[in-house]
Every structure is written in C-alpha cells, then in structure tokens.
C-alpha cells in the first residue's frame, strides 16, 4: 500500500503529544480570555501597552508585537503563573508569530532561551556577564545566520563585530555551523577579551542596525526565572541587568526603541523578583501578564480533542460506544492546564487504543474535489481563458512518489501538463503534523508554487472544517491555501460495509486509473491479478468499474471475487 494520509495515525500522535503536557502544544492552543487587573470575571490578567483593547491572550501577544514591530515602541513584560499554567506555551507562541508573519520574519530577530541554560555554562564570570554574553551571542548568531534577514542587515552585523574583533575571529564566527559548540564559546571569549561594555554594546547594535533598517526589531523571550531560585546572587544579577535595560530604554529612548522583552517565571518567583527592588517595582507595575486558568478553558481544550476524534472516526462500528466512554470521562476542575492535558489525553488515548487501534481514520472527501476544482479555475483563470489551456479531470486519491494525495488536478496546455494542484482533506480541525506531512510530500513531487517566467505555477490546498490561526499563517508561508469545508458529522455507515463502490471509499483507496505499475502491483498482490494483467489494465485505462475491467481484461471469477473484496475494504477504486 502506498503511504496514505488516512492510514497515518495523526490522531494517535496528537493525543500522545497532548499527553506529554509539556511546553507548547500548537494543536490545542485556545483563545484564553484576558481582563484588566482588578476587574471581575474569569481569565488571565493583563493590560495592553498600546492602549488598544484586547480580549484574549492571542490578541494581547499580537498587540505587543504590533506595539514594537509596527509602532516602534519598547515592550517589557513579565509572564507569571502557577506551574503548568501555560507560560512556556505563551512564549513559544509569540516566538512562532514572529517567524510566521510575512512582514515580521524579515524584520526582526527573536531570541528565546531558558535561564536554566546558563547554569551549565562554564567560566568564572559573574552571572550577569554570562547572561549578557548569552543575549549578545544569540543576537549575533541570528544576525549572521538567519536566512530571512536582508544582506544589508547581515553586513552591518559583520561590520560591528569587525570594529571589536580580529578579522580571523569574525570569519570563524561567520563560518560556525552550530550555536552551542562552534559559535557561543568563541563569541563569548572574543567579546570578553575585547573589553567592551556589554550594555553599551547592546544598545549600539540596536542603533546601528536601525540606521540601515529602521523597522528592525529585537525580540528576547526569556523563560524559567524559577531556575535561579536556589541562587540569590544570580537573581540579583539578572534583576540588575533587566532593570538597567528597562531604565535605559524608557529614559534614554523615551520608550521609542524597537526592543521587546518577555521574562517568564512562576508567580512566586516573579513576585519576589519584582518585590526585591523598589525601583524595578515602580517601573514595571502594569507590565505583568498573569495567567489564570479556569474550567471553561479545560472544556475548550477538551472540545478540540473530542471534535477531532469525532471527525476522524465517526461512522466506525465502535464509534458510538467509544464516544460514550470519552464523554463519560470526568474532568477534575482542580487541575492545572498541564495536569488536565496529561490526564485527559491519556484516558482518551486508552479508549482510542481499545476501539480504534486497527482502524484508519475516517476517510474523508466531502466536497473537496469540487472545492479544489473551483479554486483551480479561479487561480488559473488567466490561462484557462485561453483556448490552448484546459483543466484535467479532478482525480481522487492519486499516488505520486509513493504518497497518496487526496485530490490531484493538472493544468493542461494542448493536452500536456504544465502545472499541478494538490489537495489534502481532513474532516476535523487541521493538526500541525498534517502540514508537516503535506509539506514533505509536496517537496517530494517538486511542488513549484512560484514561477518567475510567467508560466503557470503549482497550487496546493488543505481542506478541513477549521484551521488554527497560527497554522494558517504557516500554510500561507508554504504557499498552501486553506479551504474551509463543513465537517461531515453523519457519514453513512453503510459506506464502510457496503460492497458498492462509493465516493467515500475512493479517497482512501488506490485509484487503478491514476496509479503507476509499481503501486498497482503492490495493491493487487494476493488477488491473482498478475503483472501481465496489470499491463493490460494500464493499456485499457480509463476504466469505469470492476465489470468493465473484467470485460476488457479477462480473468477468473475467483480473481474477480478477490478484487471485489479489496474494493469493499476500500483499498482499490476506479
């Protein structure tokens, strides 16, 4: 069998990721309500820095990005929450946003690190030196190696380094292939030896880059303040460093500096960090984001999980009983988000393994073919209105380079294929892993979404009931378009057991009209339909159904029966 989207256990791997409960789980990112400090109601607490109204965390993060990247202001934030309440998720999401917005990714560097990383760095320097070195090393690593940045920015970074370091040292740093081993230790050594004042240097870099690229923004997302809990001196160093940064950004630059800093930690640690210095306390008062979970959030995540199970398996014979068991799982309202994820996903996973272990996900096609066809007509309209161009028929499951694409269409120029469109359909909210797989498949078939010479370019679509915001950004960056299609909640169960050929079966099956000889050989294995017959089949294509195949390529009732079984099992279609 070819690798098939339906057979791949996306749901299982999704559940396993949620069960892990650690860090950022993109597929269960939800809109968490935000309210102003001191107001009644549920949800997390924060105030926008821009003065604009924000109603959830996603909006808040986008507003902060806008505040710095679009409006050019300084952003400083503490993120505080009880352990397991989503701090790291928030920081990662913000990081992802900087990378996945087309107008942001070329105009900023985002550095994200855990303070715990620094505890294992050798050297006798004070913690504040190590911390500054780390911040600057990460900054220059990005400036020199981030492929999304313009050449002019990279050149400025090189020039700045050349002002301090020997040319051989700069060359070494440029040629480094990894951060931790080849870059950071050398960078730190060279920088310390240069005798430069780190804070001055930091602001100098921001200034110099701004000369050539006025919209360029520096983003620092620092996590795990709690890691320093056992080291009061480290905490003091860190506090002094950030305090000086905040003071300078506010006083010298009047907050008009493209710098965004987030510092995350558990509530008690953030509290004592701020309380430990009255000056810091007075300058950061309204900058705290406090994450507070509530039951509706747990319910929303639950729905994200449940709805995917429903979309993937509804219509299978054990679905109703499995669904009942899933609905009966009792939530503990006193769980943190992490505890909830672990507990709930592990229970659902058990049920999944009990009832769906052998089952492929729900075969889904819906009206994907029509949707893809309509999009192709629109996107290729400039060609299709010329008589030499035409659209091929829309194929269902088509195996190319060993991957079974749900939809496949060709743009034909005088009958010859000049561009292709690929479609992948799911009956539940898209998962990040769907994109990863689809991206790989597209790479394997040399997907070419942009042509410079005016020739038509390839198209790609993902079709599903919904697609999370961040994932949609990622799709767009890969030139894949999301098409919304209503979820099919009442699949006709007889489709699975009926011996009649149905469209629903087709998308999961190998299409004898479009698959190549190798795939067909594998598919027909065990039916008695040998290589010679496959050759005849290929010659006689297209074929409407099994009866036509029997009449064109003669074979026994036994073989016909075997093939019919494969058709019934959804392995073969026409």
């Amino acid at each position: 069998m070819p690798e098939d989207s339906g057979k791949k256990k996306y749901i299982k791997s999704f559940l396993q990721q949620v069960q892990g409960g650690e860090g950022f789980i993109e597929d269960i990112w939800i809109q968490r309500d935000v309210r102003l400090p001191g107001t009644s109601g549920k949800g997390s607490i924060a105030k926008s820095l821009s003065g604009r109204t924000v109603s959830n965390i996603t909006e808040l993060l986008e507003d902060d990005l806008k505040h710095s990247l679009d409006d050019g202001y300084f952003t400083f934030r503490f993120v505080a929450a009880l352990i397991g309440s989503g701090k790291t998720s928030l920081l990662t999401y913000l990081n992802e946003l900087t990378k996945n917005k087309p107008n942001y990714k070329n105009l900023c560097i985002a550095v994200r690190f855990q303070l715990s990383d620094l505890l294992t760095v050798g050297g006798k320097q004070s913690f504040s030196i190590k911390l500054y070195c780390h911040i600057l090393a990460q900054t220059f690593w990005e400036l020199l190696h981030n492929k999304d940045l313009s050449i002019s920015v990279i050149k400025v970074a090189e020039t700045i380094l050349s002002e301090l370091l020997e040319s051989a040292q700069v060359a070494q740093l440029k040629s480094a292939r990894n951060f931790k081993i080849q870059f950071a230790p050398k960078f730190n050594k060279y920088l310390i030896d240069s005798g430069v004042g780190f804070e001055d240097f930091f602001f100098y870099v921001i200034d110099e880059i701004a000369v050539i690229e006025p919209l360029f923004t520096f983003v620092y997302l620092t996590d795990e303040l709690d890691a320093l809990e056992q080291y009061p001196n480290h905490i003091q160093d860190t506090r002094a460093l950030f305090k000086a940064l905040v003071k300078r950004a506010r006083q010298q630059f009047n907050s008009k500096i493209r710098l965004l800093i987030y510092l995350g930690g558990t509530s008690n640690n953030v509290d004592s960090f701020i309380e430990g210095d009255p000056v810091l306390k007075s300058i950061v008062d309204s900058s705290v984001i406090t994450l507070i979970s509530h039951q509706e959030e747990l319910e929303t995540i639950r729905k994200k999980i449940d709805h995917r199970i429903e979309g993937a398996y509804k219509g299978y014979k054990n679905f109703d009983i499995a669904w009942q068991e899933i609905r009966n799982i009792r939530l503990n309202p006193a769980n943190t988000l992490r505890e909830f994820c672990k507990e709930y996903a592990s229970k659902v996973l058990e049920i999944h393994e009990k009832y769906f272990r052998e089952a492929p996900e729900q075969v889904f096609e819906g009206n994907a073919r029509q949707l893809v066809e309509a999009q192709c007509k629109q996107k290729w309209a400039n060609y299709l209105n010329k008589s030499a161009y035409s659209l091929s028929e829309v194929f269902t499951t088509t195996v190319l380079e060993g991957h079974a694409f749900d939809c496949y269409v060709k743009l034909l120029h005088n009958g010859r294929s000049v561009a292709r469109a690929f479609g992948e359909a799911k009956n539940y909210e898209l998962l990040s892993e769907h994109l990863q797989t689809f991206e790989k498949w597209l790479g394997d078939v040399n997907f070419n979404p942009s042509t410079l010479d005016g020739t038509p370019s390839d198209l790609a679509f993902m079709i599903a009931p919904s697609c999370p915001y961040l994932l949609q950004r990622k799709l767009e960056l890969q030139n894949i378009e999301f098409i919304q299609a209503d979820k099919i909640t009442k699949p006709e169960t007889e489709k699975v057991i009926s011996p009649l050929l149905t469209p629903a079966q087709k998308s999961n099956a190998v299409n004898v009209n479009t698959s190549d000889r190798t795939v067909l050989a594998k598919t027909f294995k065990g039916t008695g339909f040998g290589p010679q017959k496959i050759g005849q089949l290929i010659k006689n294509r297209p074929l409407k159904n099994l009866d036509e195949l029997v009449s064109r390529v003669k074979f026994s009732e036994k073989v016909k029966y075997n093939i019919q079984q494969k058709i019934n099992n959804g392995e073969i279609c026409f």
């Binding site: 640690n269 953030v270 701020i274 309202p333 006193a334």
Partner: protein
C-alpha cells in the same frame, strides 16, 4: 453548655418570669405552664436542680441560678420550641431581659465560632480569596499564599485553627481550590 429539652427550657423560662425578688413557688411555676409542659413539671424541676440551674432557697420556693440564666439564654438561641397560646407581659419581658444580657451577645459570637459550618466557611473563604486577588492584581503579580490567607482568615473570623485546617483540606478535596508548591511555599487558586 447545658443542652435543655423543651420541657426544661419552658420550665426555666417560667421560673425566671414568675420570680419576684428572685424566688417563686413551685406551684406558681407549674400553674403558669402550658398544658403539655405541665405534666412533666416536677420532673423538669428535679432535673434542672440536679444540674444546678435551679436551687431551693426555702422549702417550696425555687430560684434560678446564674448558671441557669446562662443556660436559658443559650438554649433560647437554638430552640425549635413554638408557643401555641398568648403569653402575658411576664414572659415577654423575661425574653427581652434575656436578649439584653451580655451573655446573649457573647453566646452569639461563641456560637458562630463553635458552629461555623462548612458552607459559611466556603463563602467567607471565597470572599477573602477574591478580595486578596483583586488587591494583588492591581499591585502586580497574583500570588495567593496559603500561609497568608490562613493568617488573614483566622484574624477576621472566629474559628479555631483545627477547624480551619479541617475545612481547608475539605476545600481541596471538594475541588474548590487547588494548590501548588513554589519555592517551598503553598500557593492556591480558587477553581472558577
């Protein structure tokens, strides 16, 4: 506290109401009692005497002791007894007298201390929690420490430490709050 049954309570009330200069005859008390209480008048009198709530200063006369007044006051606060006929000024004035006694006030607070039930505790705790959270939200970071809220609750309410701990554990097991430990400090969050 001496817990009195209805017969004893009404007997004691009447004894106090019909006393003049501190004493009253047994017959006068019995005569004033409602029918259903009258039957057990002698028995009630003996029982009250046994617990030193009544004394017999002279043969045939009774007097309500200080302890008896206290018992009357505290039992009036919890009794489910209902009068079924009109009562004269003596009874009414005695009830007023009991209400005005300092013992009555003391009893009210002692009662709320001793008898704070879990529901009251939950309401008071919730109120305190959200007051504290609101204050912290405006100040910066929200950190509700068990230590602080325990201290604050015990300061504001009449509840013993033991009872607080029992109820506090019950808040957790009833999933009304959850706790995590950070920096060796227990922090709590109200489940919303």
């Amino acid at each position: 506290m001496n817990k009195l049954n209805n017969n004893q309570l009404v007997y004691l009330l009447h004894a106090l109401a019909y006393s003049s200069e501190g004493t009253v005859t047994k017959g006068d008390v019995k005569g004033s009692l409602p029918k259903e209480i009258k039957k057990s008048a002698n028995q009630s009198c003996d029982e009250l005497h046994k617990h030193n709530l009544l004394e017999f200063p002279k043969r045939g006369r009774i007097s309500v002791t200080k302890q008896g007044v206290k018992a009357l006051v505290s039992n009036l606060q919890i009794t489910d007894y209902k009068f079924e006929s009109n009562k004269g000024p003596k009874i009414l004035n005695t009830l007023l007298y009991c209400l005005q006694l300092k013992d009555y006030q003391d009893n009210i607070s002692a009662k709320s201390s001793e008898d704070m039930d879990f529901d009251t505790f939950v309401n008071k705790f919730e109120e305190l929690y959200f007051q504290e959270r609101r204050k912290q939200e405006l100040r910066g970071v929200v950190v509700i420490r068990s230590r602080d809220i325990r201290h604050s609750f015990l300061e504001k309410n009449h509840i013993s430490k033991d009872k607080f701990e029992t109820f506090f554990s019950k808040l957790k097991s009833d999933e009304k709050i959850f706790s995590v430990t950070e920096k060796n400090e227990e922090l709590i969050q109200w489940v919303e």
